[in-house]
């Protein structure tokens, strides 16, 4: 396989992990986050700083996950205080805060970011296999959670917090769990991204990225593991497939976002149900 295909496979795997990580928080537990790129960024910066300092890449992954989860825990705490749209805006503010701190911090490279991150030493095929393997693990984990007691509790919190309380599900602890789990996985995606791109700039983790990942899970079908994977792949391949549109690519992206949301608001995962209803009702 040539380097282009390997690169695409890696990038798609990273985006699947990133999208599934938001799906735990927003899809399963119902807490809309508009600042998820910050945790992707925390993972990436942790991994990059450690790798530059000489730590082997594989050892930076757990550190990236733990640090992201710690920050995720604190942002999760805000979700106990504010709900719904207030939470969406608060998480958006957390994203801007992260970006502002990174941009102005000379320690983290400022606007120029961190470049010349040393390679992992696994070779290009090894890197791809690592990313694809991690994505598979995350997919299985995601499916497992969905079927598990934890997933049921998440869904209870998502649909009605007060009703969840009456069946002895404690919403705060499950929200915090969702935030920690989701942000840890975002940290994993960030670390893998560093190994893929070898250099990072603050703009990679801007508000646009948070929106892109929310678009992935919504276009895919919020809460559905395979739908979200499809959404992630679709939006990652989008710039490649629509390269011929050149100057009009962003315009097409925006229009598609609008059209999909207007006509299939349940996302790709909702398409089979629509088709089934059409064919069964005359």
């Amino acid at each position: 396989m040539n380097a282009y295909v390997l690169g695409l496979l890696t990038l798609n795997s990273i985006m699947i992990i990133f999208a599934l990580s938001l799906n735990v928080i927003t899809g399963y537990c119902g807490q809309v986050s508009l600042g998820h790129a910050a945790f992707y960024g925390i993972g990436a910066y942790t991994s990059a700083m450690m790798a530059v300092a000489g730590v082997p890449f594989l050892a930076t992954i757990p550190a990236a996950m733990v640090l992201s989860a710690i920050f995720g825990y604190f942002v999760g705490l805000t979700s106990l205080r504010v709900r719904h749209d207030f939470l969406a805006i608060t998480t958006m503010a957390c994203g801007f805060l992260f970006l502002g701190v990174v941009r102005k911090s000379t320690f983290l490279g400022g606007e120029l970011g961190i470049s010349s991150v040393p390679p992992s030493g696994l070779g290009s095929l090894g890197d791809t296999l690592l990313a694809v393997g991690s994505a598979l693990v995350v997919i299985i984990l995601s499916l497992y959670i969905q079927k598990n007691w934890t997933g049921l509790a998440f869904r209870a919190v998502e649909s009605d917090e007060d009703a969840a309380r009456t069946v002895a599900v404690n919403p705060p602890s499950y929200k915090l769990l969702a935030f920690c789990l989701g942000t840890a996985l975002a940290g994993l995606a960030g670390a893998l991204y560093v190994n893929y791109a070898r250099f990072i700039v603050p703009d990679t983790f801007s508000f646009g990225t948070s929106i892109a990942v929310l678009a992935m899970i919504t276009i895919g079908g919020i809460g559905s593991t395979f739908g979200v994977c499809a959404g992630a792949i679709l939006l990652t391949l989008f710039p490649e497939v629509f390269r011929f549109l050149g100057n009009y690519r962003l315009l097409t992206y925006g229009s598609l976002l609008i059209l999909v949301m207007m006509f299939i608001p349940k996302g790709l995962a909702g398409v089979p149900a629509i088709l089934y209803r059409r064919s069964s009702s005359p």
Binding site: T26, V32, L34, T78, R81, V82, H84, D85, F86, A88, I89, T90, M92, A93, C94, G95, F96, L97, L99, G100, V101, R103, K104, S105, F207, I211, L214, A215, T218, I222, N247, Y248, L250, L251, Y253, G254, S255, L256, L257, I258, M261, M262, P265
Partner: protein, 289 residues
């Protein structure tokens, strides 16, 4: 001393700009519970049309009128075409549609007017300042503050003192009961989109005249910040939003002066938002106004 007075005036003027841009957002959120991010696109649209028409006709009055009318139409059309049919969907659907709209609008401006944006051919107000007690004040800044005070006072009178305004407030607090009293809810919604877009267009043209430049990404300065403002004010609460605009304007003005080496403008606004929301989860205001 002059330095602090300067910061204060700058902050207040910035606050007035934010207020003009975010009042529409508050009105729309109060009625429909939609975070109308594309409002920033309307703000840019107003500025683009205002500048182009002024250049064409060499009359700022025609530019203003055209910008206001077309932006109102654009705002109402957005409701009719995009939002009306997804009101029953979960809120993130509307947010994503709105962001999609903003992307489409900004990219269309880039394709139509070019990457660098447009300027006024003949701008008599550019960089013109008056001296008030030793502080150099930009004329357009002053005009913006004056217009903000006038329009917002007018709006407050309209909402509190007229029959239409009362119908409007009734719809915000109890849509079903308002309908049973003969209020046409759909008309009220168009009114909110129309007035909100009008205020955004006025603010847009003023800022464009002040900077003598409109770029395609002109609106992003206010877009996410006006979201922060309406949340700070307590979603749907107009007085709260006004207070929040002024606070955010001042915080940014003083914040960038003192903490510039640690945080950028947006981060300062974000920090204010997080701190206030953690202290008062429903923002400055209580309930809906």
């Amino acid at each position: 001393m002059i330095y602090y007075a300067d910061l204060l005036v700058n902050g207040l003027a910035l606050g007035c700009l934010y207020a003009m841009a975010s009042v529409g957002l508050t009105l729309i959120y109060g009625l429909l519970r939609i975070l109308h991010i594309a409002h920033a696109g309307v703000f840019t649209l107003g500025a683009m049309i205002g500048i182009s028409l002024t250049n064409l006709t060499s009359s700022l009055v025609i530019g203003f009128t055209g910008a206001i009318c077309l932006s109102m139409i654009a705002g109402c059309l957005m409701y009719r075409i995009f939002y009306e049919r997804i009101l029953r969907e979960p809120p993130h659907v509307a947010v994503l549609i709105s962001i999609g709209l903003l992307i489409v609008m900004e990219d269309s401006f880039r394709i139509i007017f070019g990457e660098e944006g447009i300027t006024l051919h003949n701008n008599p107000f550019y960089l013109k300042t008056v001296d008030v007690a030793g502080i150099q004040l930009n004329v357009v800044f002053l005009a913006l503050a004056a217009i903000a005070v006038i329009t917002l006072t007018g709006l407050a009178y309209f909402v509190n003192g007229t029959r239409v305004g009362i119908a409007w407030r009734a719809t915000v607090s109890k849509p079903l009961i308002a309908t049973s009293f003969g209020v046409d809810v759909i008309k009220v919604r168009y009114l909110a989109f129309g007035i909100g877009s009008m205020l955004a267009a006025i603010a847009g043209v003023m800022v464009a005249v002040m900077n003598n430049l409109v770029e395609p990404s002109f609106g992003s300065v206010v877009s996410y910040k006006s979201l922060a403002i309406i949340v700070l004010g307590g979603l749907g609460n107009m007085n709260g939003a006004l207070l929040a605009s002024l606070c955010l304007g001042l915080a940014e003005s003083f914040g960038t002066a003192f903490f510039d080496s640690y945080l950028d403008r947006n981060a300062i606004a974000a920090l204010v938002l997080i701190v206030v929301l953690m202290a008062r989860p429903s923002g400055f205001g209580r309930g809906t106004a």
